[in-house]
């Protein structure tokens, strides 16, 4: 962002100057002949909004015809245990208590939380698994509602990542790099595809805290940051409180007309400032004031779910009436999707079950199971699953051995990056399949590994973007969401 500022105002070189002036004069003259006015900066806030609305790839520059128009990402923060939910490993129940063989571990780096353990006693799921649906996908009894929609899901059992701790792992998923500072997926999409609703942000974020591990890992707002992209593209968090978006409400005694006049005046001043200095962040500022003004009416409308019929609450579950729960956020996600929000990011915290896993994961799964399934059903009955990509998954999996003491009813699991499970639905993803396979120990991947960058490449592909061509030049390097690797997983596309 600041590099644009520099090149534009002070470092415009001879070549750029000639090109710009020649082309500029030419088009101006042509425009005059054809009887239309050349588009240029105006101090009209609506024009600034229009800039925000169009992405660099809109107007026919997409690399492929898109299968998905929007994404709902149900991020399960903390690392859900694939072994209790999706990946059935009877061998672990047979070998319960035995030490993890070195031939399986193969020198895998462990976190500081278990690297000191003398033994790594294997432990299988306390919860039974069953096959469901026509596809016969195997799910644990902890997910009875998800089981109803398995024929709409693509379950990927062979995800793997590089990070072993929460923050780097989530940052990796969201930005393609373990180090912070790069744009989040939603920001990339806002930059590339632009907005479909001029009254709501392109990239929204909803948080909820699970009952599984209440005092688990926190999240940082930089996870939905815009990195080096223009600040227009950062995610906007909708809170479950009196003020869903902070600092949006007018003070007592201020009316809409007064606010409008103020925003117009500030925009005019800002525009003068922009002409003087040429900092593109100033036009971003103008657009953000305008967006905030529009959100003053659009956000309360979207957050007020009291008009939803009873059957919707029944589908999403009783907690969907309680603002701030995962269920309520899932319902909000559907409302945001209906209104054309491009990227809706949910985070549900509390999956980090190092100890006390059996009871904690039961609660945690109950938090999300019904609402996740309901969201898929609800989108489907409305025809929206056609072009909405729903993703459910965390930042890594959990170990096949117990962290801490293994008792008959209790155990814990540490972080495991080598294999874990996520699911996707809609948006042109093949429904009713289970992709990838792990070994009998649930430790390594046997077939069809899917790296985080492969996942990101596939996500972009569904939105019509070639991840290798979608770049942004910053500090002399062209950056991609997928950094320098990643292959689209064609096998899971319908």
């Amino acid at each position: 962002m600041h590099k644009e500022f520099g090149t534009r105002a002070y470092q415009m070189n001879r070549r750029a100057f000639l090109a710009k002036s020649a082309l500029g004069l030419g088009t101006a003259a042509l425009g005059g002949l054809l009887g239309c006015t050349p588009s240029g900066p105006t101090d009209d806030p609506a024009a600034a909004m229009a800039q925000r609305l169009s992405g660099v790839l809109s107007e026919g520059k997409l690399h492929f015809a898109p299968k998905a128009r929007r994404v709902i990402y149900l991020f399960q923060s903390g690392g859900p245990s694939q072994l209790e939910l999706f990946d059935h490993k009877p061998l672990l129940n047979q070998l319960r208590g035995q030490d993890l063989p070195e031939a399986i571990r193969r020198g895998q780096r462990l976190t500081g939380m278990t690297s000191g353990q003398d033994a790594f006693p294997l432990v299988g799921s306390l919860y039974p698994f069953r096959r469901h649906g026509e596809s016969g996908a195997e799910l644990s009894d902890l997910l009875p509602h998800t089981a109803r929609v398995v024929d709409d899901l693509c379950i990927i059992r062979s995800m793997h990542t590089e990070a072993i701790n929460h923050d780097p792992a989530i940052t990796f998923f969201q930005t393609g790099s373990q180090q912070s500072g790069r744009p989040s997926i939603g920001s990339w999409l806002s930059y590339g595809l632009g907005s479909m609703n001029e009254n709501l942000p392109t990239f929204t974020v909803l948080l909820s805290r699970g009952t599984g591990r209440k005092f688990g890992q926190p999240l940082y707002s930089r996870l939905w940051g815009n990195g080096f992209l223009h600040s227009l593209h950062q995610g906007v968090q909708f809170r479950a409180a009196k003020d869903p978006v902070l600092f949006l409400r007018d003070p007592e005694g201020m009316d809409r007309a007064g606010r409008r006049r103020m925003i117009d005046l500030v925009a005019e001043l800002n525009h003068r400032h922009e002409q003087e200095f040429g900092d593109p962040e100033i036009s971003g500022r103008i657009a953000q004031y305008e967006m905030a003004y529009r959100m003053q009416t659009s956000v309360p409308e979207i957050m007020d779910t009291s008009g939803e019929p009873d059957y919707v609450y029944k589908m999403y579950g009783p907690e969907s009436m309680q603002a701030g729960t995962f269920a309520a956020n899932a319902l909000l996600a559907r409302r945001l999707a209906e209104r054309g929000v491009r990227f809706i990011q949910l985070y549900h915290m509390g999956w980090d079950q190092h100890d006390n896993l059996p009871s904690a994961i039961k609660n945690q799964a109950r938090d999300v199971d019904q609402a996740s399934a309901a969201l898929v059903m609800d989108l489907k009955q409305r025809g929206m699953l056609e072009d909405t990509l729903v993703i459910w998954g965390g930042e890594f999996g959990r170990t096949n051995y117990s962290q801490g003491v293994l008792t008959n009813t209790n155990y814990g699991r540490d972080h495991h990056p080598r294999c874990f499970t996520i699911w996707m639905a809609g948006g042109g993803i093949k429904p009713g399949i289970t992709y990838g396979k792990t070994d009998e120990y649930g430790y390594n991947i046997l077939e069809n590994p899917v790296h985080v960058h492969d996942f990101q490449a596939t996500l972009l592909h569904q939105l019509g973007i070639d991840h290798e061509k979608f770049t942004y030049k910053y500090q002399g390097r062209r950056f991609r969401l997928t950094d320098v690797s990643g292959e689209v997983i064609h096998d899971i596309l319908s």
């Binding site: 997409l62 015809a65 005092f215 009873d310 009436m321 609800d378 025809g383 209790n410």
Partner: protein
């Protein structure tokens, strides 16, 4: 040998020099002839000298390449002799020039040489790119596929065209890379230098399939990097073909087909489809002015997706703008617009429409007859419309319809079996059956008040987010039932009470009861003697802390709590004088994460003189079974009103952490604050 081949590989570079130089000299000479004799001719000696040198170098490198470069056959021979002839021809032309200068004989000879250069070049090009390199674009377009692709010969009409486009330029009789020929059936049967390329029925074992599926960076990957790659659909189709291989003669209809086949056929149809012009910016502009949102679907296809910008104010007349760009429209979204039925025959003018969304509009089956015959329509969304069974005739004329959305239409009532029988292959998506979720249990309401202790009265509010819920409550700690009062607004408490509330709603199971004790300080406690000493760190002001009318927070270290490690608490409260009492309230802290648990039981006994105590009440409480969030719980114990000055209170601790705790068996704590008497 390898070093010679290395030089041989300069042939493709060098060969352009004699072609260019000789052609240039020829043109220059011709130009001079045209302008008349006066024009100075070019320096023929030098120019032809360079021409000779480069053609000599080209011939030598060419011969080296022919020896080891994997080329063979008649074409190679012809190219070789033509090239040698060119090299010999250059000195001949030179000699003729010196002898006859500008006479006709020389001109004839020079023209012949240039002709020979052209022939040699063409032969060489055919060697490198395949004999049909030039004509292929003309041929492929006009290639005749049967109208019904199911009748196609799989190998000849579906497989071979892929291979001809992407493999034969190297695997042909002239080039025969890896000694493999793919241009005709014999080559396929014979295989390459490593033997057979296919194992019928086992794609995974077939070298040809293995290689095309290797990662792009792999050395063995085919086609090699830099050459035109196979598309995903082509690869999947080839894999399917080998898996279901039944000789080379089979027709498509005789084989079991997978989605991979359908995907490839789609791709094939698309590439054979008549060319459609992408809408011009002007046409798109016109659509936008007409109230539509237009999205161009991709950079390399003409398709557009059209939606209505402002459904509320959309006028049906605007639809006519769509006609002009009709063939390019792939997706059309008219949801929530005030469509009128008589205008919808415009929909029939969108021959390539794949997705149509008419949800939440007033359309009926009669207004959609225009859809009949749309050959590409795959997804039709009718959610929330009045479309009924009279749509069937139209549906039968939509050959490629895959999905039909019928939630909240009369069609929703139709059974799945009927659809399967009459519209096989059509996926009909109705509404979600809410009954599958049973009677879910409501979430308990919230009890909200400013404080838990009060002197005169306290305002209580009960809150719920359930929009149509009803809260019933009691003030005596009993579970609210049918005849308990319904909450209508905030109310005042004037005595110590346990408020208990339940949320009820039609079609839902009642919530669990929620309760909270609010304490009125009726009789001040003068002094408290602790029979059990609190822990050094959490002793605050001792017994006085329990009677200071200040409650501890959820933070155990706030200095308002008394903490006891691993033991029960016994205390005696002195009211200073004999009072009429009826109940006692004691607060305890729950913070399992910090090893602090609630008591297992509490008993209270009263006495007038401090010697003989009579029990007031003893209650037991179930221990928690899982980790919960920190919170304060108040225990109300009451009995028949009596006169008393002293109260003896015994609080039973859990003493050690329960088995489910992260540190089972470790000493745990009891934290107590505030004893109130009424």
């Amino acid at each position: 040998m390898d070093a010679l081949l290395y030089f041989g590989r300069f042939h493709p570079l060098l060969l352009h020099l004699p072609i260019g130089i000789l052609l240039y000299v020829y043109l220059h000479w011709g130009y001079a002839q045209l302008l008349g004799r006066k024009q100075r001719p070019p320096n023929f000696n030098f120019a032809l000298g360079v021409g000779l040198a480069t053609s000599l170098a080209t011939t030598i490198t060419g011969l080296l390449l022919a020896n080891g470069g994997g080329y063979e056959g008649e074409l190679l021979e012809r190219h070789k002799y033509a090239g040698i002839a060119v090299t010999l021809g250059v000195p001949l032309v030179w000699w003729a020039y010196r002898r006859w200068k500008n006479r006709g004989a020389f001109g004839l000879l020079f023209t012949a040489l240039i002709g020979l250069v052209a022939v040699t070049g063409h032969l060489g090009g055919s060697l490198t790119h395949g004999e049909d390199f030039l004509t292929r674009p003309l041929r492929i377009r006009g290639q005749t596929l049967p109208k019904n692709l199911q009748e196609a010969h799989v190998f000849e009409q579906l497989v071979l065209p892929i291979v001809e486009r992407k493999c034969v330029s190297c695997h042909n009789p002239q080039k025969a890379k890896g000694e493999l020929l793919l241009h005709d059936l014999n080559g396929w049967r014979r295989g390459g230098e490593n033997g057979q390329i296919l194992v019928a029925g086992m794609a995974e074992e077939s070298p040809l399939i293995q290689r095309i599926f290797l990662p792009k960076g792999d050395e063995q990957h085919m086609p090699p990097s830099g050459k035109l790659q196979l598309t995903v659909n082509e690869k999947n189709f080839l894999r399917w073909w080998v898996d279901s291989m039944d000789g080379y003669e089979a027709r498509l209809e005789s084989l079991a087909q997978t989605p991979a086949v359908a995907a490839y056929l789609d791709e094939l149809r698309a590439s054979n489809a008549p060319q459609i012009d992408a809408p011009s910016p002007r046409e798109i502009q016109r659509l936008r002015q007409g109230g539509f949102l237009v999205e161009k679907l991709s950079a390399n296809a003409p398709w557009i997706a059209v939606a209505v910008a402002e459904p509320d104010s959309f006028s049906t007349d605007a639809l006519s703008v769509l006609r002009r760009v009709g063939p390019a429209i792939r997706e059309l979204n008219l949801a929530k617009t005030g469509l009128e039925k008589e205008r919808l025959h415009v929909l029939g003018k969108l021959p390539h429409l794949q997705r149509l969304d008419l949800s939440h509009t007033a359309v009926s089956a009669a207004s959609l007859t225009g859809l009949a015959g749309l050959e590409n329509l795959a997804v039709l969304n009718l959610v929330g419309t009045r479309v009924d069974t009279s749509i069937f005739t139209t549906l039968r004329q939509l050959p490629r319809l895959e999905k039909l959305y019928v939630w909240r239409t009369p069609l929703e009532q139709i059974k799945g079996a009927f659809w399967e029988q009459h519209f096989p292959g059509l996926e009909v998506i109705g509404g979600v059956d809410v009954a599958q979720f049973g009677r879910p249990k409501l979430v308990a309401p919230l009890i909200v008040a400013e404080a838990e202790l009060f002197v005169d009265s306290l305002l209580i509010e009960l809150e719920t987010k359930a929009p149509r819920g009803e809260i019933r409550y009691t003030l005596d700690g009993s579970t609210p039932g049918e005849d308990s009062p319904v909450y209508t607004g905030p109310f005042h408490l004037r005595a110590t009470s346990e408020v208990r509330a339940v949320l009820a709603m039609d079609g839902w199971e009642d919530s669990d009861p929620v309760s909270k004790v609010f304490m009125k300080s009726g009789v001040p406690v003068a002094r408290i003697d602790l029979a059990t000493a609190p822990n050094e760190k959490y002793r605050a002001e001792g017994g006085a802390t329990l009677a200071d009318l200040e409650k501890g927070s959820t933070d155990f270290s706030d200095g308002k709590w008394l903490g006891f490690e691993g033991k029960d608490l016994r205390l005696t409260a002195d009211l200073g004088a004999v009072h009429e009492i009826s109940g006692v309230t004691i607060g305890a802290l729950n913070a399992p994460g910090a090893y602090i648990h609630l008591p297992l039981s509490i008993s209270v006994a009263s006495s007038v003189d401090g010697d003989t105590f009579t029990p007031l009440q003893r209650r037991q409480y179930p221990a928690a079974t899982e980790l919960t969030e920190p919170g304060v719980r108040n225990y109300l114990l009451s009995g028949t009103p009596r006169a008393a000055r002293f109260l003896r209170i015994e609080v039973e601790s859990q003493r050690v952490n329960p088995p489910w705790h992260p540190a089972p068996g470790a000493n745990c704590w009891l934290f107590v604050d505030e004893v109130l008497v009424e």
